[in-house]
Amino acid sequence: MDEVWKYVMVYATLMAALVIEVALAVNWRTLGPLSTAGVLAIASLQAVFGFLYYMHGIYGSRSITLMMILSLAVIIPLFIAFLFSIEFPPHITQITEG
């Protein structure tokens, strides 16, 4: 496939994902957390597409992909720590009572 057409296809896929994303949020809001999860999953898939094609990661070396994964992995402990900090929020009670 010609390279130009390949990028047009990528663009079309991103646009289709955008339509589904908006539909999930606007028309299927009644799904509640499922709608939110769906929207975030689509956003993540779009970002993967963005990395592979718009950032041309698909043509890059394996080392670059590995570094990208490492960069994202570094954030995971912060997510877990924040998660466990929400469950016991004495700082919140202190502030709200204060």
Binding site: E3, V4, Y7, V8, V10, Y11, L14, M15, L18, E21, V22, L24, A25, V26, R29, S35, T36, V39, L40, I42, A43, Q46, A47, G50, F51, Y53, Y54, M55, H56, G60, S61, S63, I64, M67, M68, L70, S71, L72, V74, I75, P77, L78, F79, A81, F82, L83, F84, S85, I86, E87, F88, P89, P90, H91, I92, I95, T96
Partner: protein, 817 residues
């Protein structure tokens, strides 16, 4: 300053405009030592205050400012920049390169560092003085309610500029070490300093942007009135996590360079190979990984989940193992060696001994139970000074003595050096060891009563402090005396020729480090200097199989520069740009005149830099030959952009985590998060998403055009990308103005604060992209790209793709859920 071209130029101009890595290293050295003196004087002032009970030498506010500035200066403007001085000077030589990958960016890193330092010093003169919240900048002490002085905000901005400088340096070193190594120079063949520095910059790559995130939120709180650290949804815990997520890797960023120099010196002056070098490097990598999962031990008392405390208790104890391995390897290096007790060696041994004491006291702190007792006491102050000053700075001082003859071409007075060591060690231990006895004295008080019984120990500590300070006066005297009348140093005064490359070149080294027309080559027989033709002409025995004619084409470097051509090593723009940044930001506090002038200088410098590039007036000698594993398939500029993107994940990742934390807390505090469409118009958000997606397509088409040599496609793609990006910003501006008109401002509530700051940072990235696009469009219309010369377009496509990817999350987070 050996280059013929530079000897004709005014020395002042040379130092202001230099891009030579060795000159930049010397600039870093002088500046970091200056800040060391500033931070030291600040320390002595608050030590005087604490010498006796109920002292009134300093007011509470002055004490707090002195303590805060001392900590910030030492951590940010002294230790890492001092290590950077050596890294700049010796690493290109150690890896066998003629310079850094991006000499102008190297100079920019230094000048931004100096600009940030000027801003930090200026904060003392702002009304109310400088920041007074302690170096940890804990919320809510960092908020306007408790620290209303403008100097605090200026200090925050200064740190942001400093971190930006460090991020630029990180990218440069990453590309330099991975891509500019001499033929045959495998990573494991490098001296410890280069290897440790590589690991250090990996830590800097993600830790510094992660600190940038809370600082931006803090400055936004203080300047724009957002509510990240004053609202219950964010508050103190948000700051704590974001600070310490950076803060613990930062400990190793401070420590590792000094520890590496210690190892190199121990090997050189014991006449032995490093004991188990591979194990040391393995332990180092394990420690670096663990450094990202120990930060919560700084937060045991914040009321977080007990399970979290246990987990981080374990990881903290684990991290002592790799450092134990490194320490034992160092000691075993000495066993059986013919030890020469020179000044560098004495300081290296001292650094190792002090680091062991600091490390041992740190193990106690990892225990949750003990941590509850010792947290915030002088025990902790003693511990971290033994680690950072004892292990880190003492190692750096060893390094300065070690490389001084190489940098200056002069030897120093050995007897005075040894006297310096004795006074330094006595002063250091008198200053910091008694602090462990003050395990019941809080560290953040400016006055105490006589009945506490802390007076005599504090007196001892202050005496140690002054003795320690006096050792630095002697240190500077030794260095100045050496410059004035020190004996001429040989190429290899320490007999370290077989240890690393810098001892095989003159002291000081020539402008491009190696004999004219030669490059260093590492063969099975050792180091050799060979001409380019010898290497390109045919297979060279003993060199890595990757190096051969097919991998060593005489490619045009940086768009047309022959490999052996070295243009002038001067460019005014890094200096001018940095001064423009400093003037602009200082103008925010000291008057609109300075602000306008600063903006004019800043914009002028961007134009000048771009013009210099378009006219190809600055050339970089790219090393087409050599070891580039594991990034041998990417070009230098493209790789640099990737490294920048990895760093951006370090910035946006914590910002998105902050969003997550705040939003989750909102459900607990009862804050009603706006529903989709309630505040932000989904149609406008979707329109902007379409604009960015389309711009990603047009940018990709531009790159295809560049690769194929289809200039019309290239130009059309670039212009379309610019227009789409500009329309995106216009739509965003319209949205903001509509929200403001409805009374939704930065500080309306936490959701508004998040929206403005996150989309604002993204918008700033779009704006920066548009500025870069102007340059690319002009270059494209001037025929500056071809199928073989289009790295600028390729690198920008990666950047623009990242801007798109960030928006892919911002849109759903603020408009859809």
């Amino acid at each position: 300053m050996e280059g013929k071209e530079q000897t004709r130029v005014n020395p002042l101009i040379v130092w202001l405009f230099t891009t030579n890595h060795k000159n930049v290293g010397i600039l870093y050295l002088v500046t970091s030592l200056y800040f060391l003196v500033v931070a030291g004087i600040l320390a002595l002032t608050f030590r005087i205050q604490l010498t006796v009970p109920e002292n009134n030498f300093l007011t509470a506010s002055a004490y707090n400012q002195a303590v805060t500035a001392h900590g910030l200066f030492m951590l940010l403007w002294v230790v890492t920049p001092l290590a950077s001085a050596f890294a700049n000077y010796v690493i290109p030589i150690q890896i066998g390169a003629k310079d850094m990958a991006f000499p102008r960016l190297n100079a920019l890193s230094y000048w931004l560092y100096l600009a940030s330092g000027i801003m930090a010093l200026s904060s003392f003169f702002a009304p109310g003085g400088t920041a007074d919240w302690g170096w940890t900048t804990y919320a809510p002490l960092n908020t306007l309610q408790y620290s209303p002085q403008a100097g605090g905000s200026l200090m925050g901005l200064a740190i942001i500029i400093l971190l930006s400088s460090s991020i630029v340096a990180t990218i440069n070193f990453m590309v330099t070490i991975f891509r500019l190594r001499a033929p045959g120079m495998k990573l494991m063949l490098l001296p410890l300093f280069s290897i440790f520095w590589l690991v250090t910059i990996f830590l800097m790559l993600w830790a510094f942007p992660a600190f940038l995130a809370p600082l931006i939120l803090l400055v936004a709180d203080r300047v724009l009135g957002t509510v990240f650290f004053t609202s219950p949804e964010g508050g103190a815990l948000l700051w704590d996590h974001l600070l310490w997520f950076f803060g613990h890797p930062e400990v190793y960023i401070l420590l590792l360079p000094g520890l590496a120099i210690t190892g190199d010196i121990l090997a050189v002056f014991s006449g032995r190979k490093l004991y188990a070098k591979k194990v040391i490097v393995g332990a180092l990598i394990v420690a670096a990984i663990l450094s990202y999962i120990v930060w919560v031990h700084h937060m045991f008392m914040t009321g977080i989940h007990p399970g979290l405390r246990e987990a981080f208790n374990i990881t903290t104890e684990l991290i002592s193992i790799p450092f134990g391995v490194i320490t034992i390897s160092y000691i075993l290096t000495l066993v059986g060696g013919k030890i020469r007790f020179t000044t560098p060696m004495l300081f290296a041994i001292g650094a190792l001994a002090l680091f062991i004491i600091g490390g041992a006291s740190g193990v106690f702190n990892s225990s949750v139970a003990l941590n509850f007792g010792m947290r915030g006491t002088f025990w902790v102050v003693g511990h971290f000074h033994y680690t950072i000053v004892g292990g880190g700075i003492t190692g750096l001082i060893a390094g300065l003595y070690y490389w001084w003859p190489k940098m200056t071409g002069r030897m120093f007075n050995e007897k005075l050096g040894k006297l310096h060591f004795i006074i330094y060690m006595i002063g250091f231990n008198l200053l910091y060891f008694p602090m462990h006895a003050l395990y019941d004295m809080p560290r953040r008080i400016y006055v105490y009563e006589a009945a506490t019984g802390w007076g005599p120990i504090n007196m001892l500590i202050t005496m140690g402090g002054f003795l320690f300070g006096a050792s630095f006066i002697l240190f500077f005297w030794i260095l100045l005396d050496s410059l004035r009348r020190g004996p001429v140093a040989s190429d290899d005064p320490w007999n370290a020729k077989n240890y690393s490359i810098e001892w095989n070149v003159p002291s000081p080294p020539p402008e491009f480090n190696f004999p004219e027309g030669k490059v260093p080559v590492i063969t099975a027989q050792g180091l050799e200097f060979r001409s380019i033709n010898e290497i390109v002409g045919g297979p060279v025995s003993g060199i890595s199989a990757r190096i051969g004619p097919s991998k060593a084409p005489n490619i045009p470097a940086n768009g047309g520069t022959p490999m052996e051509h070295h243009g002038p090593h001067l460019s005014p723009w890094p200096f001018v740009l940095s001064m423009g940044v400093a003037m602009t930001l200082l103008g925010l506090f000291f008057g609109p005149g300075l602000l306008i002038l600063g903006l004019a200088v800043f914009i002028g410098s961007l134009v000048g830099w771009g013009w210099e590039d378009l006219k190809e007036r600055f050339h970089v000698a790219i090393e087409a030959l050599g070891e580039k594993w594991p990034f041998d398939k990417v070009e230098n500029h493209t790789f640099a952009m990737w490294v920048f993107v990895f760093g951006e994940i370090g910035l946006f990742g914590p910002l998105f985590m902050a969003y997550f934390f705040v939003r989750a807390n909102a459900s607990l505090t009862g804050f009603a998060w706006p529903l989709p469409g309630q505040i932000h118009d989904i149609t406008l958000g979707a329109l902007n998403t379409i604009l960015l997606f389309t711009s990603g397509l047009t940018m990709s088409l531009a790159l295809i055009g560049a690769k194929r040599g289809e200039e019309d496609l290239l130009r059309a793609g670039l212009v379309a990308t610019f227009i789409l990006g500009a329309v995106f910003l216009a739509v965003k501006g319209f949205e903001w103005s509509e929200l403001f008109a409805e009374g939704i401002t930065f500080g309306s509530d936490i959701s508004a604060s998040l929206y403005y700051v996150l989309t604002g940072i993204h918008g700033a990235h779009v704006l920066a992209g548009l500025i870069a696009l102007i340059y690319l469009i002009i270059k494209a219309y001037k025929g500056g790209f071809s199928p073989h010369r289009h790295v600028g377009v390729e690198a920008f496509a990666i950047y623009w793709g990242m801007v798109d990817a960030v928006w892919m999350f911002l849109f759903p987070l603020f408009y859809l859920i």
